[in-house]
């Protein structure tokens, strides 16, 4: 075993590129085989005419992409981006303090676990519990009525507020966990130094904590924004299905609309948008340090 190790390390030392390649290999190959290849099939399909009952007919066409440029569908995209953005901002404002508290706590294991625990119940069951809480005749309204804060039940359910609540509920750990991972290695002595040098709390946060936790913040924002773009079930269940998001649109194409190529085209348009956003964010993240510390 030792000689194998020695030979392996010698090999890696001789060929530096090999180390990168071998680390990359398993993950990338898997994603290539089970994500990229199926997606290429879908990409091909997006340039083909739709079959009468679903699937595709032979041929080549750009009509699906052209159709997506119709104001109706661009509006759907715009609405989805706004919602995803709102969810991200809300998660950031709520999640950052939580990640901070956990990283400074002695019981961080327990607190982390408690953040994640609600997600080991089924998403649907949780959402229905929220419906129960937010209904006109639900728990929140009943309590508020009993206490006398309101005289009529408030409409909480099937409103944008309920949808935002549901999105935040669903994506909060995606924001908290990366920020926590980033904050946890923040050296407290840096903050102490700032304190000693006379910096007020606000200055300490903006000049020490935030910049050092920026990679986690960016990762958290991307981990919320990106999947939120594709989400639609929360909007349907808590918003009363009164609006259509990109996720609904794509889902419909593969089901009742029987227009698989258009569904693919919309998905690829969405993916292109995300790729651009992510690359820009990564550039932002890499900018301050620039060089990889090696």
């Amino acid at each position: 075993m030792r000689t194998f190790r020695r030979r392996l390390l010698a090999l890696l030392a001789r060929r530096p590129g090999l180390e990168a390649a071998s680390l990359l290999a398993p993950g990338t190959l898997w994603l290539l085989a089970f994500f990229a290849v199926p997606m290429l099939l879908m990409l091909a399909a997006s340039f083909m005419p739709r079959g009468m009952y679903g699937g595709v007919d032979p041929g080549f066409t750009l009509e699906h992409y052209r159709r997506f440029l119709d104001p109706l569908y661009l509006q759907v995209l715009g609405r989805t981006v706004v919602w995803a953005g709102a969810a991200t901002v809300a998660c950031l404002l709520l999640g950052y303090p939580v990640a901070w508290v956990i990283s400074r706590s002695r019981h961080r294991g327990l607190l982390l676990f408690l953040i994640v625990l609600p997600f080991w119940t089924s998403f649907l069951v949780r959402t229905f519990a929220m419906i129960f809480l937010l209904r006109d005749t639900g728990l929140v309204n009943s309590l508020l009525l009993r206490v006398g804060l309101i005289s009529q039940p408030m409409t909480l359910l099937y409103t944008p507020f309920a949808v935002l609540l549901g999105l935040v509920y669903g994506f909060l750990p995606f924001m908290v966990l990366p920020i926590y991972a980033s904050l946890e290695k923040l050296d407290p002595s840096l903050l102490e130094a700032a304190l000693v040098l006379g910096a007020r709390p606000r200055a300490r946060f903006f000049t020490v904590t935030l910049p050092l936790s920026l990679p986690g913040v960016i990762a958290g924002c991307l981990l919320v924004f990106v999947p939120a773009l594709g989400s639609f079930i929360t909007s349907d269940l808590l918003g009363g299905a009164k609006q259509v998001m990109i996720g609904n649109l794509v889902q419909n194409q593969f089901t009742s609309a029987r227009n698989w190529p258009f569904g693919s085209a919309v998905s690829f348009a969405l993916m292109a948008l995300v790729l651009v956003t992510v690359m820009a964010s990564l550039r932002l993240r890499d900018r301050p340090s620039g060089e990889v510390t090696r």
């Binding site: 994603l31 089924s122 991972a181 980033s182 290695k185 407290p188 996720g247 990889v292 090696r294």
Partner: protein, 264 residues
Amino acid sequence: MTRRVSRGALLVTGAVYLFLHLPVLVLAIFSVNASRYSVAWTGFTLDWYRKLAGRADLLRGLRASLIVGSVSTAVATVFGTLLALALARNRFRTRRAIEGFLYLPIVTPEIVVGISLLVLFVLLRVPLGLATITIAHIAFNIAFVAVVVRARLDGLDRSLEEAALMLGADELTAFRTVTVPQLWPGIIAGALLAFTTSFDDYVITSLVAGTGSSTLPVVVYGMVRRNVEPTVNAISTLILLVTSLLIWLAFRLTRERPLAAARG
């Protein structure tokens, strides 16, 4: 070493935890409610838990979810961590592009991923079953783990690792004894995220599942949307209790080690 936290932050955190756990509490309470529809409290009962024992489909679904979840999380965590390391440690031209592509599995609507994988499996004549579900879950989980661990790797202090190398450790030992422990919170965070995503997945799973290989969400989906029978609440509460117990046990067992390491 001051660990002061502002009162504002504590307040927000408290509110967030309350907000997160209130629906869970509600669903636990309804698991012992006599009414079939979760509308009002009509009396205490353990009937729904008793019914669980007879619901072979729910128990089989749970078993399938646990198998798929743990296997896909384990594999994806390893692959994803390696991927994150490669991206953080090495400069090569396509680096940022690969990192960008990692986000695509996360954004692509599940029905597209599901249908495309199904078509692939059919073309390759791969029989549908738990294996195909696991394959699909590993794919999107690699992306989650890689992204989370990558965030952890940024700005990670290399000097400790370099010190170990200078002191004579070879690269693999340095990796194992210095880098991995530093990475550990990120890896755990990524693994937790991966497991919960896998455990809850419905659309992709239902499309690539074979006969008799339905996971818990697939079995539960219908029950919840059409009838919201409290049996579902019962199994969710049970899952919560069992995982809490397991994690608590794991926590107790691993807590001894830091002290022992310090001593020894």
